[in-house]
Amino acid sequence: MRLAAAVILLAPAMLFSQPAKDTCVECHTAMDGVIQKPALLIKNDVHTANGLSCADCHGGDRTSGDPTVAMSKAKGFIGKPKRTAIPQLCANCHSKPDFMRHFKPQQRVDQFELYKTSIHGQRLASGDENVAVCIDCHSVHDIRAVKDPLAPVYPSRLPDTCGRCHADSNRMAKYGIPTNQLDQYHSSVHWAALKKGDLSAPNCASCHGNHGAKPPEVASVAAVCGNCHVLFAQLYAKSVHQPIFSGASGGGGCIVCHSNHGIQQPSTAMLAGPKSVCSGCHEPGTPGANTAAQMAQWIDGLGDALRHSEAVLGEADKAGMEVSEGQARVEDGRENLVKARLAMHSFEPEEMHKPIEAGMAIAKETLLAGQAALREKNVRRVGLAISVFFIAITIFAIWLVIRRLEANGSGYLEPSK
């Protein structure tokens, strides 16, 4: 009786909780070819997961089973939107804070405004339909959340997504911009880190922006790099090179030495030697070249000294000696090496020499600790040999005593017969 009453009372609520009828998906799923594809893709779409459907973008009446009604202009059906209309179409929802708050309260709603300031947006406004609109980066019908690892704008996928157009020489031909950025980026330290799973490593959008994508102005390159490399940027800003490398002088900030898309692991080879980037301006033998060579020598010297200390401590460690304090100190030395590499960006030898000096002192201290541990190991071996020798003599002496004691069979009691 109670059960029947519960069913009767709950039935209306159960009916209302049924998902709304979606004839767009039903009919298009039953079709073939290109008009079936969106209906299949939409199952993976983040909008579908949030209760939206085809009609929310394309208009029409998704509840009607009659195609002439469902896709009638009277019901607001717009069909396939024009490319030029797509940003505004997406913005109809994505620029409305009140609407977006229902789904993602923290979601930004300025994408369209940013897009309008981007090279893509500006060219689209001037009638160039070849440029990227929302769906070129986010895909269409199977749009995934940015945090979804399968989304084309997921950090590790974004470079390839940008590269789909920017590495296409035919598509870029009319703009006269290079198409080797993706290849260069794939050879960079940034891609190496991103590939390993470090999602904080920069991708295209980190430097160029995403919805407001533009090449950074030459004058702002250091500020862009400084978003992550904060201390480097601060030192560089006060350095003698800043005014020379600045945009006003026609330079390029950080990229003068480090390049842009294909940034390699920095090394002292950038300071001195045949691949030195300093030699591009400072002729060999000039004070600038000599200072750069000195800096390279300091960094290499400290690196070598710390590696040597570590090797000696490692040898002692392998021999079972307790050298964990020394090993921890080597890490302090490494910290000074990092500080020295950082201080190099002030281009002031005195600034750089402070951490080098501190690091070298640690390298010396830890080397002595390692050597002392190895000497101690030898002392222990000698001590062991001497101890074992005396123990062996004692055992032998006891054996002689036993032999003498038992020479005539004494100490034994024969069994009674």
Binding site: G320, M321, E322, S324, E325, R380, R381, G383, L384, S387, V388, I391, A392, T394, I395, I398, W399, V401, I402, L405, E406, G411, Y412, L413, E414, P415, S416
Partner: protein, 353 residues
């Protein structure tokens, strides 16, 4: 002068009685005599533990904040501290190994038969105490491996039927391994276990003196040549002890006991964490048991099984002899071989897998 002093002491302590008893003590000489030395080696290693343990206590500080650093101080700053700590650790492991050898030598020579039931019982309890020493001492350096191994160990103890949760709580001094566990283990390691062990070692040795050395049942006791304990056997035992000392010194000098990394309760457990070798066979067995066997929880069943095995092993003098008081040699030898094979194979598997 010396004679007068000895006489003075004799009048008060009755030394002549001890000398007389020692003078009458004999050791049977036969094919299995060599196994008698293992009891003595166990005693010697226990002595080494007492001496080195006392020396370590001069510097060790049983707190979470200072435990690890004090052991590092012993290893790096204290004169010969590395030697004392390494000998203590190596000796602990050798002691447990030798105690097992001693126990199995008693099993295979059937020395548990009447009238030595209580000697066997005290021996089994002593073996348990040695394992307790090992378990409690392992945590004291408060390094990463010992911390997590103790977590695993107390978890296993905690899964014992009925009393498991209470045991785990008592051992840990709380819900998890922490500062209270360290002080508890320290108190157990340096006060509770040593006092209990000293009393039981005394009882064990007294019983050996009282009942004499056992002769294997296949050798007629009356037809065996006897060796005087003093000085003949004692000198031989001294040779073995010196040999053990040399082995300990060599192990400590060539393979000093490592210190590891200070325990960090918030770090994730190191990969392949496992207990000390003497708990490996049980640990590996528990890993093999499915999570559920019929209606029982697998781990619970395993712990109950180990408990039953230990209890039946302690009762060996009951089921290992017939009504006439003679050893059931085939049964006990078979059980002994099975147990040795199980411990050896599962310990190796526990290391490898």
């Amino acid at each position: 002068m010396a004679g007068k002093t000895i006489q003075w002491l004799d009048d008060r302590l009755g030394l002549s009685t001890i000398r007389e008893v020692a003078g009458h003590k004999t050791v049977p000489v036969h094919s299995a005599t060599r196994w008698y030395y293992f009891g003595g080696i166990t005693l010697f290693l226990f002595g080494v533990q007492v001496v080195t343990g006392i020396l370590l206590m001069f510097y060790y500080r049983p707190t979470v904040a200072e435990g690890f650093d004090s052991v590092r101080f012993i290893m790096t700053r204290v004169e010969f501290g590395w030697l004392i700590r390494s000998i203590h650790s190596w000796s602990a492991n050798l002691l447990i190994f030798v105690a097992f050898v001693h126990m199995f030598s008693v099993v295979f020579t059937h020395a548990y038969r009447p009238p030595r039931e209580i000697t066997w019982a005290t021996g089994i309890i002593l073996l348990g105490l040695m394992l307790g020493f090992g378990f409690s001492g392992y945590l004291l350096p408060w390094n990463q491996i010992s911390y997590f191994a103790t977590k695993v160990g107390t978890d296993v103890a905690g899964s014992a039927p009925v009393v498991g949760a209470a045991i785990a709580r008592i051992l840990r001094g709380g819900e998890d391994v922490g500062a209270a566990t360290l002080t508890r283990f320290f108190a157990l390691h340096v006060i509770v276990l040593p006092l209990t062990t000293a009393a039981l070692v005394g009882a064990h040795i007294l019983l050996v003196q009282k009942n004499g050395m056992s002769t294997p049942p296949w050798i007629a006791a009356s037809g065996v040549r006897q060796m005087k304990f003093f000085p003949n056997f004692f000198l031989r035992e001294a040779m073995v002890w010196y040999g053990a000392l040399a082995v300990l010194g060599a192990l400590a000098a060539i393979f000093p006991w490592e210190l590891g990394v200070k325990a960090d309760p918030f770090a994730s457990a190191p990969k392949g964490i496992r207990p000390e070798w003497y708990f490996l066979a049980q640990f590996f067995t528990l890993k093999l048991i499915p999570s559920h066997v019929w209606i029982f929880e697998g781990e619970l069943l395993g712990i109950a099984g180990f408990g039953a095995l230990a209890a039946s092993w302690a009762l060996l003098p009951v089921w290992g002899v017939n009504r006439a008081g003679e050893a059931r040699q085939r049964l006990v030898t078979g059980a002994g071989i099975f147990l040795v094979a199980y411990l050896a194979v599962f310990t190796v598997l526990g290391y490898v897998k």
